[in-house]
Amino acid sequence: MNAIKEAIKTVSDLWSLMVGLRVTGKYFLEPQRTVRYPWKAVSNIGTFKGHLELVGGGQKDPFKPRCISCGMCALACPSHCITVVKKKAPKPTPEEEKALAEAKANGEKTKDKAPKDPEKFVYDYSLCSLCGTCIENCPAGALSFTGNVYMAGYSRNDFLFDLVVKLRDSQAPAPAEPAAVPAETSEA
């Protein structure tokens, strides 16, 4: 009796292997599930959060950052990967200086002439943890994530960008030709 039980058990054990093999065989005949990468790419790259970028549209120029150099992003960042350098006010001409002094003497409010957009927006991607705290805390809506998943470099410095330059360069489609530097940003 025991021998028969043993035999039945052995057969059922072996059968479990056959069942497993049937599953493997079934899936072997099914179409490929993986994407053959260099020839084809996955379809959902759009939702990926890549490195930061500045949003253009400041002073109605799509290649000028909307950033107002308030520094909220740098304060909010947990990994200190953002440094915002403010633009200095352009040196006033003698006539302007005179007008300013007169206005002050008359008790009028003088307007700060310093441009609001940043001189430099240094971003160290190698430190960034892509949490999005900077974007959530930006009062001007001047930051966003790119969908760039192909970021690769040979050295650490390849991940240190000036986002202002990056945004400005994005208008020049051919990389061979150096981007024309707008006069107003270069003089500061």
Partner: protein, 388 residues
Amino acid sequence: MTHSALPDQVAGDFYTNNFAKNAQEGSLILNLGPQHPSTHGVLRVVVEMDGEYILRAEPVLGYLHRMHEKMAEVKTAAQFIPNMGRVDYGHALGWNWAFVGAVEKLAGIEVPERAEYVRVITCELNRLASHLLWWGAYLLDLGAFTPIMYAFDDREKILDILQAPTGSRLTYSYFRIGGVAKDLNEDCLSRIRAFIPWMRERLPMYKDLVSDNIILRKRIEGIGVIEPEVCRRFGATGPVIRGSGIAYDVRRSDPYSVYPKLDFEIPTSDLMDARGRYDVRIAEFEQSLRIIEQCLDMMPEGDVLVKGAPKPSWKAPKGEAYFAVEGARGKIGVYLVSDGGKNLYRTKLRAPGFCNLSLFAEVSRGTILADAVAILGSLDLIIPEIDR
């Protein structure tokens, strides 16, 4: 290498030397597993062997220690959230939740109802992904290569779904103090709806392919028996304690969020061995799917982030709070002490894997080395979480 035949200075490093002090005559000290820090999630265990049998085992920790608790002292509460995604890469949203939950408890912040549902859905999806990762990797440990291909096929679908709201695929920092960062849009919800029947269809296939397989049964049945009393003594939680027959699950024992409104079971197993823990995790697939399904039906409209949610400069009020959630590996607890300053005074992270791993030294005694690997895998360890 017989330790006694060699002078101390060539017999290994500090741990090995210390471990070898109490070794029996003629036994073999063996370092099990790689520990190179650049390979994430590997564990070193020093074992003393008598032939093929383990006399003693001692896990060596600290190779992946990243000072998360110290980092919490130099960052504000809202700035610490990205760290939580990196404590446990398998179930990152569980850790996200434990931390933001503790801060919300401390500050008395109410979370909008929709955000609670979004949290449950994403957290359960992440739990499924974590269990699939364990399932594939465990069977890989046991020498079966194919199952991880099937597991990653499904896991990839979950990661694709979670990528839409979170923007990342592994180390999520998605929860915010007072809600979540982004709502689940209609496209994302419809993909989750489509995923549930797909996953349900796959479960019988998993059973056919692996669970009933005689080779697996022979490998994991009857090894690593952990008595419920031992589980309690070591503070084991999650599928480890449920695999020993104790229905302890934070979602039911210390309910939080909307879990009391949801209908689901706590799977347990009386086998107490590696098979029991395997069965519990497989049964949890179905329960997680049930939870997600109910949440999709019950989810109200509304905001996902409370108005005036804490900014990075926000200071937590003075006091202390403890909040625990059920992670894929067990009870994730965060204990906070705030002195009302800019940063939190102390953040204590309770990792379930740490307690579960400590069981290994007890359980592996007297087993064959090959069984010890099967026991280690059945505890579902994520090393960065253990070291923190």
